[in-house]
């Protein structure tokens, strides 16, 4: 078959000039460039063409395609419709794909706390939840007859402590036994963070749970000072609650630290009106009796320790008013964070 490319070009140009709508443009495009269009027909004719004509036909087809494409491109900048082909897509429809999963807010809070201390050079170590009386109490200078050892304040297990005949294993009532374990195993200097679950036989209500989470910190070297404890925790609070936080260190009592303090922050920074100060953590200089219990030489080391409740930090920071929400795991709660 013979093709009069000259004529086809002329006709295409005339048709292009007459285009006055996107629909007309589409008709034009299909006529020349569609699957059954002119260009395709020219290519299809190559099969039956004389070998001497093949080159000319191939070139003619390619030239025609370029020519039509150019006509379309010129014309589309003149047609005063924003989009040439097809209907306007409603781009306000949501994108496809499933949403990301959610990391539990307690995990996020714990990660955030850990990240601050790791950023300052602490290392994170996890220690067991099932503990001995030595690690949970004796090693921390909590006397044999101390009320916290009562079955009212600590969960004991129906299992004997292999290291202490006749004594039961227990569920740690705080993360502080991690201090004892780590000091028994390592020599200073050290700066460690111990995060994890702790257990206390408290009746469950909006602010109490028999299981909750703590993050413990311990720094020991040969000259740790109370001023450094203050500096460290001040920096922590600034990073966790924001640079405008106001803190106060209030004397308190823990058997394993001396001096001991509790740290309060100003309630205002969290938008809380009903009180002025919010207690957020306990801390102090490691009691020399604890160093004695873990076998450090007398007077050789100084240290400080601190501990905070992860639930409490999360409740304060995110305005969560009931601790039970954390463990109930209602999807409407989980998906908020």
């Amino acid at each position: 078959m013979q093709w009069n490319f000259q004529e086809i070009h002329t006709q295409a140009q005339a048709e292009a000039q007459a285009i006055d709508s996107p629909q007309a443009m589409e008709v034009f495009r299909l006529k020349y460039l569609g699957k059954k269009g002119v260009v395709a027909a020219v290519f299809a004719s190559l099969g039956g063409a004389l070998p001497t004509d093949k080159a000319a036909i191939g070139k003619g087809a390619n030239d025609l395609r370029s020519f039509v494409e150019q006509l379309i491109s010129e014309k589309s900048s003149n047609v005063s419709v924003p989009k040439i082909f097809g209907e306007q897509v409603d781009t306000s429809l949501p994108g496809t794909g499933e949403p990301l999963g959610h990391t539990h807010i307690l995990t996020q809070t714990m990660q955030e706390i850990i990240a601050v201390f790791e950023g300052m050079g602490f290392v994170t170590i996890e220690t067991p939840e099932v503990e001995t009386e030595f690690h949970n109490f004796t090693g921390l200078n909590i006397p044999i007859d101390h009320p916290s050892r009562d079955a009212f304040d600590t969960f004991y297990l129906d299992a004997e402590d292999p290291s202490s005949k006749g004594r039961r294993l227990l569920l740690r009532s705080h993360t502080s036994p991690g201090q004892v374990r780590i000091m028994k195993q390592h020599k200073p200097p050290m700066a460690v963070i111990v995060p994890g679950r702790v257990y206390r036989p408290d009746a469950v209500d909006a602010s109490h749970s028999f299981m909750f989470h703590q993050v413990e910190g311990l720094l020991v070297d040969d000259k740790a000072q109370f001023s450094e404890l203050k500096g460290l925790l001040t920096e922590f609070c600034r990073r966790f609650f924001g640079p405008k936080v106001i803190m106060r260190f209030r004397p308190h009592f823990f058997p394993f630290t001396e001096p001991s303090a509790e740290v309060d922050i100003n309630a205002e920074i969290l938008g809380i009106q009903r009180k002025k100060w919010l207690e957020i953590l306990g801390c102090g200089m490691v009691n020399p009796k604890v160093f004695e219990q873990v076998g450090y030489p007398k007077g050789k080391y100084k240290g400080f320790a601190f501990g905070m409740g992860v639930e409490r930090m999360a409740m304060l920071k995110y305005g969560i008013n009931d601790i039970r929400l954390f463990y109930e795991n209602d999807v409407r709660f989980l998906k908020q964070f």
Partner: protein, 674 residues
């Protein structure tokens, strides 16, 4: 501890506004938790830490305020009533349990009301005024911290007191009118016949002071703190006395309290001291002496300090000091048993300076000795990324569970660690599996109409000798929320398997999937994954019977568990670069019919056995289970990819290998080509 400002002013005027006093007390470690106004008096509720029983009375608080403000405390003058000794009035069986007992016999008393001023003091502290004898014991308790009790002497059988353990079967009706069964661990005050008081906790009704009382036996004693605490807890009975004994009462105050109360009883009842009986293991406290170096105070607190200031503060707090060459010798008063070593003294100094005035600086952190195995955390974080991308939400569940939950989950036969003292049956054991607590969360959500959920938890399973870290995943409901990406169908086992395969990929392990070994899963739709012969976990549809037990009726739930404690020790995958082939790959699609029971995995295995080194991969395309195929068979479509790193493969060599594979499939599995 309640502090009445009016009462306080009997001993000291702090010359501070209430707000300023609250601030100073709080910043000295005596945190004011509440303020109330009672009949024109201001009453502060102060949290006293357990190491400071000396502050559980008005005089103790006055001394602290004196030290904080520098003002002087005026203590009441107390006469020592040295009177006739009554022999054998007091008998103590166990001197460890009761190290001191002073019984003062006051005769010819007149029981009536106390003067309004004293009544008002008690009311401010929330104590009911009853009669002069009782009110005086309460007044002196609050004033000095020494618990006291007044017996109607004429009602004490035999006119004697024995301090002993209760005998089996004994009971007592306490002052609150409740009959209490006593056990042999409880220390009691008894007359010749029966218990008349629970030592340190509460007196008995039979011997209480009444309008008719003529003669009073006043008890002032020291009971062992642990005994009182346990008695109080086991009887569920707390009192102002037990609260103080639990925290320890100063041995020396036994006499002070007895004398102060005797003074007031003589003044306000018109009685006279007939005599006194005392049993005591010692006469005085042995006083503790502590050496404190000024340089140690300075280095621990990080500031310079004037020894003279330290001396003034400590003396105001009741310590006695001698100083020489930069060292202080501190003698601790009997009511400060909490001060035992130099750091305790340093804390007193720090309190007086004010923690907020101590300097603050960042520590130089050195940690050279501890290398931590980072792998567990890295693995968890890699897994977390896959789970986040898979729209799985993290949950944190209770790991103390009810044994019924185990029975419902068909796990009653698992070995468990029981809690010895659970609060309730709901926490009677430590979970041996993640599944029951996760199913509880599923149920909670289903009951709230939230039937589409995907949960995971990093938790622990508990055994007698180990806590094993585990990943649990629970999915149910609609597969996708968007009609464009999915039909309205529900999740199935392959969603979970794909997720688990992505997890394996993320953490660089390659376990094999085998027949299910986890009993709670439906055997027809579950698989177990193993690595080098070790069980790593299972996944599949939860058995319908178990879901019925949980009252989950209308939906299937899929569970996967991965034993992380088995994964952590696995060696890090050692990845090496594989050269990318420059030569084209050739694909051959295969469509077969095989017996339904033949697993697809078997086909892949045969392909690889026969495929030599030119078969690169076998890719599953489709499974057909419809009726356009011979009954008992299923259709499988997959593609074999052939490629070499060394050369372009020739058609005929690919054909030869491919034909060999097809023949093996036909021969070994009776596969029919479609």
């Amino acid at each position: 501890m309640k502090l009445s400002i009016n009462w306080l002013k009997d001993y000291i005027d702090p010359k501070l506004s209430t707000d300023a006093l609250i601030e100073r007390l709080t910043m000295a470690g005596l945190e004011v938790e509440a303020i109330e106004s009672v009949n024109g008096d201001t009453v502060l509720e102060i949290e006293i830490t357990p190491n400071r029983p000396d502050c559980l009375n008005i005089l103790g608080l006055a001394r602290e305020i004196g030290a904080i403000t520098g003002k002087t405390v005026k203590s009441p003058k107390i006469k020592n009533h040295k009177s006739t000794v009554i022999k054998n009035l007091i008998h103590i069986e166990d001197k460890k349990a009761c190290s001191r007992y002073i019984g003062t016999l006051i005769r010819d008393v007149q029981i009536k009301d106390v003067p309004q001023a004293m009544k008002q003091r008690l009311i401010s502290l929330g104590i009911n005024a009853i009669n002069n004898a009782v009110d005086i014991t309460n007044f002196v308790l609050m004033e000095t911290g020494q618990p006291l009790h007044a017996f109607d002497f004429d009602k004490l059988a035999g006119g004697k007191i024995a301090v002993r353990r209760a005998r089996a079967g004994e009971t007592i009706v306490t002052l609150d009118g409740i009959e209490r069964k006593l056990d042999t661990s409880i220390l009691v005050i008894a007359d010749a016949e029966k218990p008349v008081a629970i030592a340190g906790v509460m007196g008995g009704q039979d011997t209480q002071i009444t309008a008719a009382t003529k003669n009073i036996l006043l008890e002032s004693a020291h009971f062992e703190m642990g005994l009182v605490r346990r008695a109080s807890r086991s009887l569920g009975l707390r009192s102002d006395s037990s609260y103080r004994f639990e925290r320890n009462v100063n041995f020396e105050d036994v006499l002070t309290g007895a004398n102060r109360a005797t003074d007031l009883l003589l003044q306000l009842t018109g009685g006279h001291v007939s005599g006194r009986g005392e049993v005591s293991v010692k006469t005085k406290n042995v006083s503790t002496k502590i050496k404190v170096k000024i340089s140690d105070i300075e280095s621990l607190l990080g500031l310079e300090i004037k020894p003279l200031k330290v001396k003034t503060w400590l003396e105001k707090l009741g310590f006695k000091l001698t100083a020489k060459a930069g060292t202080l010798i501190v003698t601790v008063p009997g009511n400060r048993a909490d001060v035992q070593q130099d750091v305790d003294v340093i804390e007193e100094v720090a309190r007086m300076i004010g923690f907020d005035r101590l300097p603050s600086k960042l520590p130089t952190i050195k940690t050279v000795n501890i290398t931590v195995d980072k792998r567990p955390r890295e693995i968890r974080e890699k897994i977390r990324r896959v789970l986040m991308a898979g729209s799985i939400d993290e949950i944190i569940t209770h790991n103390m569970i009810n044994s019924k939950a185990l029975v419902k989950t068909n796990m009653a036969n698992l070995p468990v660690v029981r809690v010895f003292n659970p609060l309730s049956q709901d926490q009677e054991l430590m979970r041996p599996s993640m599944l029951p607590s996760m199913l509880q969360v599923a149920l909670t959500n289903i009951n709230r109409g939230q039937k589409d959920f995907r949960f995971f938890e990093f938790g622990k399973r508990y055994f007698v000798d180990a806590e094993k870290e585990t990943l649990g995943i629970l999915i149910s409901g609609r597969r996708a929320h968007d009609w464009r990406t999915s039909k309205k169908d529900t999740v199935e086992i392959f969603d979970l398997k794909g997720l688990m395969q992505r997890i394996f990929q993320a953490i660089g392990i390659n376990p094999v999937f085998e027949a299910n070994q986890f009993a709670v899963l439906d055997t027809s739709c579950a698989t177990t994954f193993m690595l080098n012969g070790k069980y790593l976990g299972s996944l599949g549809k939860i058995d319908r019977k178990i879901l019925n037990n949980w009252d989950i009726k209308n939906q299937d739930i899929y569970y996967a568990g991965l034993h992380l404690d088995e994964v952590y020790p696995l060696p890090n995958s050692s990845l090496k670069y594989q050269p990318i082939s420059e030569f084209p790959a050739i694909g051959r699609d295969v469509s077969l019919a095989v017996k339904k029971e033949i697993p697809y995995q078997k086909i892949e295995e045969i392909c690889h056995q026969q495929g030599g080194d030119i078969l690169r991969s076998v890719q599953f395309i489709e499974q057909y289970l419809g009726d356009k195929i011979q009954p008992g068979t299923k259709g499988l479509v997959f593609s074999c990819q052939y490629q070499s790193n060394a050369r372009t493969l020739r058609e005929d060599e690919v054909n030869a290998v491919h034909e060999r594979i097809l023949q093996a499939l036909t021969h070994d599995l009776a596969a029919i080509r479609r």
